[in-house]
Amino acid sequence: MTWSATARGAHQPDNTAFTQQRLPAWQPLLSAGIALPLFFCAGLAFIGLGLGLYYSSNGIKELEYDYTGNPGTGNCSVCAQAGQGRAPPPSCSCAWCFALPELFQGPVYLYYELSNFYQNNRRYGVSRDDAQLSGLPSALHHPVNECAPYQLSAAGLPIAPCGAIANSLFNDSFSLWHQRQPGGPYVEVPLDRTGIAWWTDYHVKFRNPPLVNGSLALAFQGTAPPPNWPRPVYDLSSDPNNTGFINQDFVVWMRTAALPTFRKLYARIRQGNYSAGLPRGAYCVNIIYNYPVRAFGGHKRLIFSSISWMGGKNPFLGIAYLVVGSLCILTGFVMLVVYIRYQDQNDEDEDEQ
């Protein structure tokens, strides 16, 4: 033991800012005075943002038609009646005709929307086999159990693609016809059905199984189509880049929606004369009505929508920003009143002292 060693006690704590809890600290104090500018600033910023969003959203045009075919709602009711209770429903077509008095500014996207359709219910949402969809040959023939009861067909063949999601694939189809002049001929508007799915889904997640002898059909040999499907998966389209698991309609459908009312992109209109949008004139959408939704109270809609930086039309966000911004300003004023009164009192107190 030396003096130097004992000059400082062995148990003496370290005198550092951390151990003594003296770290430099910012100590905001929540009171009207502090919150006041905060509320005003936030309010102003929000109102600004809200206005921008509101006008952005307002600039987006939407054209919507419910073609569910409930009685008396149009000509699709015939198909709806016809398809009631039948599986598979007969090919029935109906049309939705409308006129555009002016140019529908492009790019125009065509969506279909389903309501009351619970793609997000648990047993439905898990009923898929991502390995199978990624083209894994072993998975193709051995779908996971989650796919049950759409795992194996009645004949015992593995179903490809398996699962309830695939089985319930939306199978209405639409074509758009344009009549430039009244009484003129209807010209089919080209619908771009590619590029409607996420790039990564189309290129990474969804892959066809390796071709057998150059044939996709052979690759799917030994599998059965889902029970609801009128044709096997490799026949979804004639386009080899859009058939099988990488059929874009299928890929889009497989991305299950968040809420029971949802849209899914059907096509983009951007080709030829229509790259700038839909010119004025009369239009008819020819609907091949297959998908039965009336049984469970669902609705089907068709939507033409233009697109901005913020995506589709959504007035809510802009309005919400405006409302919250206004609320902030309002609260700011309350704070101001409180602050002034409080300040007065404070001064009085100090004067008294």
Binding site: P13, Q27, S168, A258
Partner: protein
């Protein structure tokens, strides 16, 4: 700490085990110990012994006894996993989480990937297991260290003492211990180098007392002249089974010839104590290892549950209820949903495998279970771990606080209970011992009255005032102890490790200045001597003159027939008074250079013969003169000798150190004496010194002034020093004689016949001596005035003498009252002269009492009572016990903080009141409650505080912080989990209540654990709602903790409501923003997860009061971690994470401006109300704490003043504070007002046992404080574990002031009186209480509940249940403590 049963440590073959079981049964409650060196009693044991090797113990009886190995570890490598898991699954929470995880393996109800749900449970289990493993390893290391300490054990083969490890010691081994060695086991003392067969031990390791206790060689062995030879030991020892009663040891030793001798606790050396002042001792091990009393008393670390945690557990139950409700709601919803779509052929319906659809009821049941899994986060799995982490950090910070560090003693505050730190912020009552806790325990003689005349000692008062001033200039004081040689460090070298481990809070209270104390603490660990302030008493000139006159007069008259008769009655009283001061105690004389170093050798023959008594004694073969003196006929020599030696033994605490002539110069031989490790056998007496005693004598006389007195209690020393100031110096004390040095008379040697020690029933002590001048038997008694005054000889008012005496008595009583008003501790001194016949008569019965085997204590007590009657009053003294630094200030602060402070004292009521005024404990209009409560002490400290004044910071600052931090963190946890679960619950309305989640299961599992845990931990550890200096200047802020303002049921539910609101916002804003969009469920879910994270952090931001760079970093890290993990996770595998399969989701999301816009809007909207409310409240209805924070803000700006000025000055907002304060008081008023105090006192209640002697002072000196360590026992012991009947401290070895607990009983204070509403002080003046209070009391909720039951036996216990629950925060303070190992 778990103790292995003894049997487990000594693996025995089954047959043997069975045998010893049978044997044990036969033995009953006795343990038989034989020497291990003896040939074994049975043949089978011989065989076993031989087989086991030579070192094997062969004693059959001891076969099953534990060896001395210390094993406090719980696990071995193999047993760790199963055992630890088993223990962890004792926690309900863990079982619950595992159940949930297991539920997930059932396909019908699983929500997530089965393996995934196990992850958090496994993580928590792993963290806890790692912590347990680490703790166990630390225990193992310290065990190993202790086990490998060395000591000398007699080896049968080598026929000598050899070095062995502690762990190799067995019961029946002979152990030799040298000075300053630590005793390795409980050892029966068989031989000592001391000629009287004495051995001194220091029990500081056990009870914190640094004074010495005396131990005595077993009767029959002390006569051995030559060195004790273990080989010749053939006796058999029968004693009690191992038990944890430190105050008790009974047994007998049976010699070969069939003779029996009793064994008492005075014969037992306890493990953990240190041998002092005795060169060497030999003993046989009786109890070893875990069977030693010290270890049986070691309850290990305490696990308590704080008030806050109990409240939290209650709220966890609410959460469980909420969870069940949500799941049930969802299940019913799902049933309806399924029923609605059952026949509809809905395309999204998924039938069973066989094509049938689920019945709604089955679906509902499945949904219920799945919902429980999904919503499991509502029960915060990480809460418990987080709380543990936060508490560990809090304890760390408390320990690290420099301002709680006592430089003088190099000790910082210790938290022994790790998990009740937040209770420190909620204390409502403080129960404090006075002596040593509030006071320095430095007793200073102030004034006295003799024979009815008061001597005011004005010079002395002036002197003390000077010290008072000097003390404040502590550092400038020249260290007086600089002449102390460097000692101790070398000597205790061997034991340094254990000393450090065990005695972390050595204090040196009685050294003078701080500087000196500091120096002394570095030099030596064994200073127990009075400071100059206590020693250098300035005598009162009048009294001094009278004493001198007595001395002169007697010197002249000494050879006449009745020398004392030549004195006037008053002078005679003066003389007796000083003789009584000098000898009526157990003070031991030591030399300054060698504190506690016993000087060997007897040199009486060489000193000048001064009295005929001396002469007779010198030439009497026996050291005692009884045989040759006139009272020789009273008893046979042997009886007398054994009797008196026994008596002095009984004077338990007398610490009888002897110093013969002043021969204390530290010759190398002496200094190394006992320290030298190689000592092979002690040399009986250094022969060299015998030859030149003359020279040494001269030196000794030069040092006469330097005599040091070492006393059990500082009061005793103070009186002896006072007497010395009047030239009546205690020169020497042996166990059978006391010498007093007077200037003219020279040395008077009093034959000490008996010492009747102090006990708290009698409240007095007496010595019986034979007066050398008159040859009469005198009894000097010293005690509490209340007692002594009643024992005085009734004086008839008929004769003048009687009237005079009566007048003296009333005068004395007046002066006593005066002293009390001054706050002095009062003692009365009285004497009684016994005729030889009276003495003979008394001695007869006394010896009978002594030799009685049962009921001995009771008989001895009665015997003492018989002696102490018809006393003649001599005078009284007033002693001042100075308050510790900062005590009044601290008490003021604590009272402002709303703490009710109770102080226990044994002082006279008047004294107590005046001390209370001095402490600022009392305002003038307050009531004082006096009562005698008999109680029982429970020793269990949770915090050890070096000084009383540190309590202020500990409670007001750290306690407040700990409470506030933890309360806020717990609330935040509940908020966070509820809010998160709310998101999932709202989603159920849009997914058919199918228990589907929009949040990826990985996020769901990792969110609590990974993304959102760090910031709240940082805040929970570091946040300071109010800075320390504001808390100290505004102690009333402490009340927020007392009233549980941070975390009360209302706060909890408001918090939950806010969580519900926020989850609504966080769900529906994204819902509306993405309504009618093509977004998919997991993209949307990821958005919501991000929103939730931002909201959590912003919420935490509002709640965090101080932002250090650590907070910023933690928040940044949290966000960074989330996005990094999400990006990596979403890019890692395209098909690996069914069913969410979130490939590239985050990447897409982060490219979308809507994501940011929604996050911003949602988080801000969610927190707007909270921010608004907080801001408004901060301005309009600020709480005390917010005001406190505002001062912080303002003070630098407006005052621009240094901290100190601010601390003392009038705060600007005080005017505003007042109304608010009143408000808070009035709202909480009823709470404290109808509160009867549900408090019980547990103090060791002394039975009528004269065994408790040796404490010479009468009233309130029973506090054996040698330490100013404070202990605060907090109120959180669980009922089951409360009330350890025999606590470590109570039973400090050799401290027989503590009584057997069998006679103790508990009384409920609360039932005796109600707490006055307005008084925050209650002063308890109770003699019996205070005399027990050397030990620390524990005030525990658990014991409260027990007492409640007890109270049924009491007639007056109308105590509402809710009061019991409310006032559950008390703090007990007492001094002196030490964990024993």
């Amino acid at each position: 700490m778990e103790r292995e049963p003894a049997a487990a440590e000594e693996p025995a073959p089954p047959g043997r085990r069975w045998r010893w079981r049978r044997r044990r049964r036969r033995e009953g409650r006795k343990r038989t110990v034989r020497s291990n060196l003896m040939p074994p009693p049975g043949a089978e044991d011989t065989a076993a012994g031989a087989a086991k090797g030579a070192r094997r113990r062969q004693c059959g009886g001891a076969q099953h006894l534990a060896d001395n190995r210390l094993k406090t570890t719980k696990y071995t490598l193999l047993s760790f996993l199963p055992k630890n898991l088993f223990e962890q699954f004792h926690r309900v929470a863990n079982v619950y989480f595992v159940f949930i995880a297991m539920l997930n393996f059932v396909p019908a109800v699983n929500a997530f990937q089965p393996g995934l749900t196990l992850a958090p449970v496994l993580f928590i289990l792993a963290v806890t297991a790692f912590k347990d493993l680490w703790e166990d390893y630390s225990r193992h290391r310290s065990d190993h260290e202790i086990n490998h300490l060395g000591c000398l054990v007699f080896s049968r083969e080598k026929k000598q003492y050899v070095n062995r490890f502690w762990k190799e010691i067995h019961v029946g081994d002979f152990v030799r211990l040298r000075c300053n060695e630590i005793i390795p086991a409980d050892i029966l003392l068989l031989s000592s180098s001391d000629p009287d067969g004495l051995c001194h031990i220091e029990t500081a390791n056990l009870d914190g007392e640094t004074n010495l206790k005396r131990r005595q060689v077993v009767r029959g062995f002390s006569e051995h002249v030559s060195e004790f030879n273990p080989l010749t030991f053939t006796s058999v020892i029968e004693c009690e089974k191992p038990n944890n009663d430190l105050t008790r040891f009974r047994g007998c030793i049976i010699h070969d010839n069939g003779k029996k001798a009793g064994l008492y606790k005075e014969n037992l050396l306890l493990r953990g104590c240190t041998i002092r002042n005795t060169e060497a001792v030999v003993g046989i091990v009786i109890y070893a290892g875990h069977e030693t009393k010290a270890l049986l008393n070691n309850s290990g670390p305490r696990y308590k549950r704080s008030q806050l945690e109990r409240q939290m557990n209650c709220d966890v139950l609410w959460c469980v209820l909420l969870l069940v409700f949500m799941s049930l709601f969802s299940a019913i919803g799902h049933g309806l949903w399924v029923w609605r779509y059952k026949e509809k052929k809905s395309l999204f319906d998924v039938p069973e495998s066989d094509g049938s659809s689920l019945s709604p009821v089955t679906a509902a049941v499945y949904s219920f279970l799945t919902m429980i899994i999904v919503l499991q986060v509502l029960i915060p799995i990480s809460l418990y771990v987080s709380i543990e982490i936060v508490k560990v950090c809090q304890v760390y910070f408390i320990n690290q606080d420099v301002e709680l560090y006592d430089e003088e003693t190099d000790s910082q505050l210790q938290c022994r209970a790790l998990n009740i730190t937040e209770d420190l912020g909620q204390i409502q009552y403080i129960f404090s011992d006075k002596t040593g806790t509030l006071t320095e325990n430095k007793m200073v003689f102030r004034r006295c009255t003799v024979s009815g005349i008061e001597y005011s000692h004005d010079a002395n008062a002036r002197r003390l005032a000077k010290y008072q001033e000097a003390d404040s200039e502590e550092e400038e004081m020249v260290p007086r102890g600089s002449s102390l040689p460097q000692r101790g460090s070398i000597g205790s070298h061997q034991s340094v490790h254990i000393m450090h481990r065990i005695q972390s809070t050595k204090t040196h209270r009685r050294t003078g200045s701080r500087a000196e104390a500091k120096r002394a603490s570095m030099l030596s660990k064994h200073t127990a001597f009075s400071s100059p302030m206590e020693k250098d008493i300035a005598p009162d000139p009048k009294l001094f003159e009278k004493v001198s006159e007595c001395d002169r007069c007697l010197a002249v008259a000494r050879h006449q027939e009745h020398p004392l008769a030549h004195l006037s009655p008053e002078l005679s009283d003066v003389f007796d008074f000083f003789i009584a001061l000098t000898i009526c105690n157990t003070v031991v004389v030591t030399s300054p250079d060698q504190p506690r170093q016993k000087v060997r050798g007897r040199f009486e023959l060489k000193s000048p013969v001064k009295t005929i008594e001396d002469f007779l004694r010198r030439f009497t073969p026996s050291r005692l003169t009884s045989g040759s003196s006139s009272i020789g006929s009273l008893a046979t020599k042997s009886t007398h000798k054994s009797g008196s030696s026994f008596l002095s033994t009984l004077s338990n605490n007398s610490t009888l150190l002897r110093l013969e002539e002043r021969l204390g110069q530290p010759t190398p031989a002496i200094t190394s004496n006992g320290y030298s490790s190689g000592a092979e056998g002690w040399s009986p007496e250094p022969a060299a010194r015998e030859q030149e005693p003359e020279r040494e004598l001269e030196q000794a006389q030069e040092q006469e002034q330097e005599l040091r007195y070492e006393a059990e209690s500082p009061d005793e020393a103070a009186l002896v020093y006072a007497a010395r100031a009047y030239n009546c110096a205690l020169a020497d004390r042996l166990h059978d004689q006391v010498s007093v040095e007077l200037p003219h008379l020279g040395r008077l040697t009093f034959e000490l016949l008996h010492t009747l020690g102090f006990d708290s029933i009698r409240k007095r002590m007496s010595v019986v001596i034979r007066h050398p001048l008159t040859d009469e038997i005198y009894v000097y008694t010293k005690g509490a005035d209340s007692v002594i005054m009643d024992l005085l000889l009734p004086c008839s008012s008929d004769d003048a003498r009687g009237r005079h005496q009566k007048k003296i008595q009333s005068m004395t009583q007046n002066y006593l009252n005066l002293y009390a008003v001054e706050g002095l501790r009062t003692l009365c001194i009285a004497k009684r002269v016994l005729s030889k016949e009276e003495y003979a008569c008394w001695l007869q019965s006394h010896l009978e009492a002594e030799s009685s085997l049962d009921n001995r204590e009771e008989l001895l007590f009665q015997s003492a009572i018989r002696l102490e009657t018809n006393l003649h009053l001599l005078g009284a003294t007033g002693i001042e016990d100075r308050l510790q630094d900062g005590v009044p200030e601290t008490i003021t602060k604590l009272r402002q903080a709303g703490l009710q402070i109770w102080v226990l004292t044994g002082d006279k009521q008047e004294t107590a009141i005046n001390i209370a005024y001095a402490c600022k404990l009392l305002d003038h209009d307050e009531d004082i409650i006096t009562l005698n409560a008999e109680s029982r002490a429970v020793m269990a400290s949770d915090f050890a505080v070096p000084r009383f004044r540190y309590l202020q910071r500990l409670l007001i600052v750290h306690g407040h912080w700990c409470y506030s931090r933890l309360a806020n963190m717990v609330l935040y946890f509940f908020y966070k989990n509820t809010m998160f679960v709310g998101l999932l619950f709202w989603f159920q309305f849009y997914c058919g209540f199918s228990a589907s989640t929009m949040i990826d299961q990985w996020y769901l599992i990792l969110f609590n654990l990974l993304f959102s845990s760090l910031p709240q931990l940082v805040t929970g550890v570091l946040d300071k709602d109010v800075p320390a200096y504001v808390l100290l200047t505004e102690p009333q802020l402490y009340r927020s903790g007392q009233h549980m303002e941070e975390y009360r049921p209302r706060t909890f539910w408001l918090n939950m409501a806010d969580a519900a609101f926020q989850s609504l916002v966080c769900f529906f804003v994204p819902y509306l923003a993405y309504y009618d969009s093509d977004t998919d469920v997991f993209t949307w879910g990821t958005l919501i997860t991000a929103i939730a994270l931002f909201t959590f952090l912003l919420h935490l931001g509002i709640e965090t009061k101080t932002w250090t760079w650590l907070n910023w970093t933690a928040c940044g890290l949290s966000i960074l971690l989330f996005f990094t993990v999400a990006l990596i996770y979403n890019a890692s595998c395209a098909t690996c994470y069914p069913p969410s399969n979130p490939y590239w989701t985050m990447q897409i999301l982060m490219g979308d401006p809507m994501f940011y816009l929604t996050c911003l809007l949602t988080s801000v909207t969610a927190l707007l109300p909270r921010l608004f409310f907080k801001a408004l409240q901060g301005s309009l209805f600020p709480t005390q704490l917010q005001l406190g924070r505002q001062f912080t803000k303002k003070s630098p700006k407006k005052f621009n003043a240094p901290k100190e000025t601010f601390a003392q000055g009038h705060l600007p907002g005080e005017m505003r504070t007042e109304p608010a304060e009143q408000k808070s008081v009035s709202t909480s008023g009823p709470l404290s007002q109808d509160c009867t105090l549900p408090v019980s006192w547990h103090t060791q209640q002394p039975s009528c046992s004269p065994e408790a002697s040796g404490e010479p002072s009468t009233v309130d000196m029973g506090v054996p404080l040698r330490e100013d360590t404070l202990l605060a026992g907090l109120s959180s012991q669980t009922p089951g574990s409360s009330m350890p009947e025999e606590a470590v401290l109570e039973g400090c070895p050799g401290d027989s002031k503590r009584k057997p607990t069998s006679t103790s009983r508990t009384t409920l204070l609360s039932s005796i009186f109600n707490l006055p509403t307005f008084s925050s002080l209650n002063w308890i003046s109770s003699l019996s209480l205070v005399s027990r209070l050397g030990s620390v009391l524990q005030f525990s909720r658990g014991s409260l509940q027990m007492d409640k039951q007890d109270s049924e036996f009491l007639p007056s216990a109308p105590q509402p249940e809710q009061d019991l629950k409310r006032a559950d925060h008390g703090l007990l303070l007492g001094a002196s403590s030490r964990d024993c190992s």
